[in-house]
């Protein structure tokens, strides 16, 4: 298929300016970088985190008054999926276990394995398939200071500097201290790391690292981690019970305020059921599929903020939810690649960003947030974006320049995965530019935890992207796979410790907290059919909806 004739016509403008642009780069001349004032201006006007519109103060719960993206606030200011008064636990099927892990990605699976190794019965409940998570989508790598010229000390400095010194110090210390342990743990489970012939880990730099500590497994590091963790969990036939297509819709607490399990929903039979547990780990990941302010996302289908809603209703405060990572260059065309991450390396190799006239409008190596805002400005305010056949806007990323600057063959050698992903659709990025637009990439914030992954609610733990604090206001590449494994393991350990200290029977299943929260929501005058957790995004078109005369939607689910 390739580009449409109309787009090919526009590409001629890019080609017309290319020779002069290549010449300028060769002479060391670049588009003028923004001053700090200009950066502040473009961020304030166009970065979704800084804009006033699209962001509102939440009116309920522990973070009342804090300002977050409105799509997320709508989730918090929602009715439960089921009125707590209508839940009769005596008629619901009930499972009982020591530890319930909610979420089957890298964090949840790590927690389940560790809790099981400590002798616990574990139920791993996940709303899609085991392994359906952002973990599988992480390509670049996992950080860990295991080389002689490196140490957790330098890793700590990199993480906290990258996070603009806002991070929670104890979480950063835990992350960087445990990193070598996690790399070893994965190696012992048979993960195929990229190694030298003598066994030494092959490590690279990432953005913001002062030492090379990015470990990888080809360009599918997250996928390899998930495959290994899932297979290891499957070895625990006697201790880990897996329940797929089962979404948690409410945390259960007993009369003493301790966690006592979760109210679950079978997405296929539409039945509710109960899992009673001494300890619960929330590891449900992020919120990319809320499409904050309409952004495309690199995230998995299931990234709908469920765990944040569950935890928040159970009384866990949020941290850093004002901060979201947008990657400046997500694919905007072809349609099947929309949201796909185009690595920073493309700009690092010299490719320009260009508008509809084939002109530069921004320096290519501004910080991620500034770069994103400048692209949005070019499309929105200046109306210089290029429109795709389905109506998306984007700007050109001139990859053919790389061949001219670095020599023929560079694109295929340095960007093999991207080359193939575009070639599949008849777009040869050695010859024609890519169309890009910022994409919603990572939820920097989440449930507030301490280094033991405790949430403040007795027996309730949380790990991974659903938590906030470890990355502060900006996460470095290679620290999300590390986050899920380090804190997943810690959650498994802490849950196991909690269970071993636990005396007496599991508390009764209670929803008083959800009832109380619902009463608060009632006072807000929000639509009564607004329910959360969302569980799945809804991509039904307006036209189809207008024909579904007898269909009933519970939130986004039909």
């Amino acid at each position: 298929m390739g580009y449409t004739p109309e787009m090919m016509e526009l590409i001629k403008r890019v080609e017309a300016t290319r020779a002069a642009r290549v010449e300028r780069v060769k002479n060391g001349e670049y588009f003028t970088a923004m001053t700090l004032d200009e950066r502040a201006d473009v961020l304030n006007k166009f970065h979704p985190d800084y804009k006033d519109d699209g962001r509102v103060a939440v009116r309920v719960g522990p973070n009342k008054g804090d300002v977050y993206p409105e799509e997320f606030v709508a989730c918090l200011e929602s009715y439960p999926r089921i009125d707590p008064d209508k839940v009769d636990f005596s008629v619901l099927e009930t499972f009982t276990t020591d530890v319930l892990v909610i979420g089957g990605g890298g964090g949840g699976t790590s927690a389940a394995i560790i809790a099981a190794n400590e002798g616990n019965k574990v139920i791993l409940a996940t709303k899609l398939r085991h392994g359906d998570a952002n973990t599988v989508m992480a390509e670049g790598g996992i950080q860990g200071a295991d080389q002689e010229v490196d140490s957790p000390y330098y890793h700590y400095l990199d993480v906290i500097g990258g996070g603009h010194f806002t991070n929670s110090p104890e979480l950063v210390a835990a992350l960087t201290n445990d990193a070598p342990l996690v790399i070893k743990w994965l190696e012992d489970m048979g993960m195929m790391f990229d190694k030298n012939p003598d066994g030494r880990m092959r490590v690279r730099h990432g953005g913001g690292t002062c030492r090379k500590r990015m470990h990888s497994a080809g360009d599918m590091t997250g996928s390899e981690i998930m495959r290994v963790l899932r297979d290891e969990a499957r070895s625990h036939t006697d201790s880990i019970e897996l329940i797929e297509f089962a979404a948690a819709v409410e945390i259960l607490k007993d009369s003493q305020g301790r966690v006592s399990g979760a109210l679950m929903y079978n997405l296929e039979t539409e039945e509710y059921f109960t899992i009673r547990a001494k300890a619960v780990v929330i590891a449900t990941g992020g919120f990319g599929r809320l499409h904050v302010q309409g952004f495309a996302t690199t995230n998995h289908y299931g990234a709908t903020a469920d765990g944040l809603v569950l935890g928040y209703r159970a009384g866990v405060p949020l941290a850093f939810m004002h901060s979201t990572q947008y990657h400046p260059t997500g694919a905007a065309y072809p349609e099947q690649n929309v949201g796909l991450l185009i690595t920073e390396k493309v700009r690092g190799l010299g490719a320009n960003l260009l508008n509809i006239s084939g002109e530069q409008f921004v320096f290519e190596r501004e910080p991620r947030d500034v770069e994103s805002a400048a692209i949005i400005r070019e499309c929105a305010e200046r109306e210089n974006g290029i429109q795709t056949p389905v109506g998306r806007l984007g700007v050109w990323l001139d990859s053919p320049m790389i061949e001219e600057l670095e020599g023929p063959g560079t694109v295929e050698r340095e960007l093999p995965a991207k080359f193939v992903q575009f070639m599949r659709y008849g777009i040869d990025i050695r010859e024609v530019p890519m169309l890009v637009y910022p994409t919603l990439h990572y939820q920097n914030g989440g449930l507030k935890i301490n280094a033991k992954t405790e949430t403040g609610v007795p027996g309730l733990f949380a790990a991974g992207e659903v938590t906030g604090g470890v990355h502060g206001e900006n996460r470095l590449m290679g620290n999300s796979l590390l986050d899920v494994t380090v804190f997943g393991r810690r959650a498994g350990q802490s849950a196991a410790q909690y269970v071993s200290d636990f005396s007496g029977e599991i508390g009764e299943p209670g929803l008083a907290h959800a009832k109380e929260f619902m009463e608060e929501v009632k006072g807000l005058n929000v639509p009564e059919d607004r329910v959360a957790p969302l569980l799945l995004p809804d991509y039904t078109t307006e036209e189809v909806r207008s024909h579904q005369l007898t269909a009933h939607y519970e939130g986004t689910i039909r």
Partner: protein, 254 residues
């Protein structure tokens, strides 16, 4: 121009005059806009996915899809999120296919041919039809790695199967009833644990961490105020891109 029109998430916006083509979802005809992927086209038709949808980016293996085009006998295989619809496609998605994993604990195994043939004896029944390879949406030489596994060449099987996303299409098509992707998983883990040389520097670092070598330094950092942290951050020595033989001058915190 509002932000709503410049960014539309995953919702499809059609241009003026978009062409609609017939596509058969499980045998039933829908007129759907060309240029969409199978996944987005099925959503456009009005379906809401619970199964058969995952990362939407070609790496999770949730959306394997089988199709024929009317008038053509050939079966085609691909991922719904990575394949664009064509006129007269007759589609079926395969949300799940049973393929049993052998019951083992990796630490109790040895990386030998016997391990493979004991846990997955069916690999020896491969008839060499290569249907598995033709069904693979990741263009993996599936039969090639099964042959390597039959010969006990764990290293080769691990490397050949590395791109596997475990969608299960190979196992759905196999006349010898092999659970290919589980065999591949076992080979990769055996290779990673027993065959590939271990990282010795990692062993030393782990014992240093476990002995608490960095606890003091990390504790000092966690208690540090922002100006001091910024000072240390700015003063970090950067390892060069080409760092063969490089050593930092300040080794106090290594």
């Amino acid at each position: 121009m509002s932000t709503q029109t410049i960014a539309s998430g995953d919702t499809t916006i059609l241009p003026e005059g978009a062409k609609f083509i017939p596509v058969y979802v499980m045998g039933k005809k829908y007129m759907l806009p060309e240029t969409l992927t199978i996944q987005k086209a099925i959503e456009y038709a009005g379906f809401q996915y619970v199964r058969s949808c995952g990362c939407r980016g070609g790496i999770c293996g949730a959306c394997p899809t089988v199709w024929r085009v009317i008038g053509d006998y050939q079966l085609h295989f691909g991922l719904a999120c990575q394949t664009v619809i064509e006129e007269n496609m007759v589609l079926a998605q395969m949300p799940f296919f049973p393929a049993n994993r052998a019951d083992y604990k990796l630490e109790e195994l040895e990386a030998t041919a016997e391990t493979l043939s004991l846990l997955y004896p069916e690999i020896l029944k491969c008839v060499g039809c290569n249907t598995c390879t033709r069904a693979c949406p990741m263009e993996i030489d599936v039969m090639g790695y099964i042959n390597s596994a039959m010969r006990g060449d764990i290293t080769r099987a691990a490397r050949q199967s590395f791109d596997c996303i475990q969608c299960g299409m190979c196992s759905a098509r196999c006349p010898a009833q092999i659970a290919h992707y589980h065999v591949a998983q076992l080979c990769r883990r055996l290779y990673g644990k027993y065959v590939a040389p271990g990282a010795e520097h990692l062993v030393s670092r782990v014992s240093e961490v476990e002995a608490g070598k960095y606890e003091g330094a990390l504790e000092a950092l966690t208690g540090m105020d922002e100006p001091k942290l910024k000072e240390l951050y700015v003063a970090r020595e950067a390892e060069p891109l080409d760092s063969e033989g490089w050593e930092p001058q300040d080794k106090a915190n290594l």
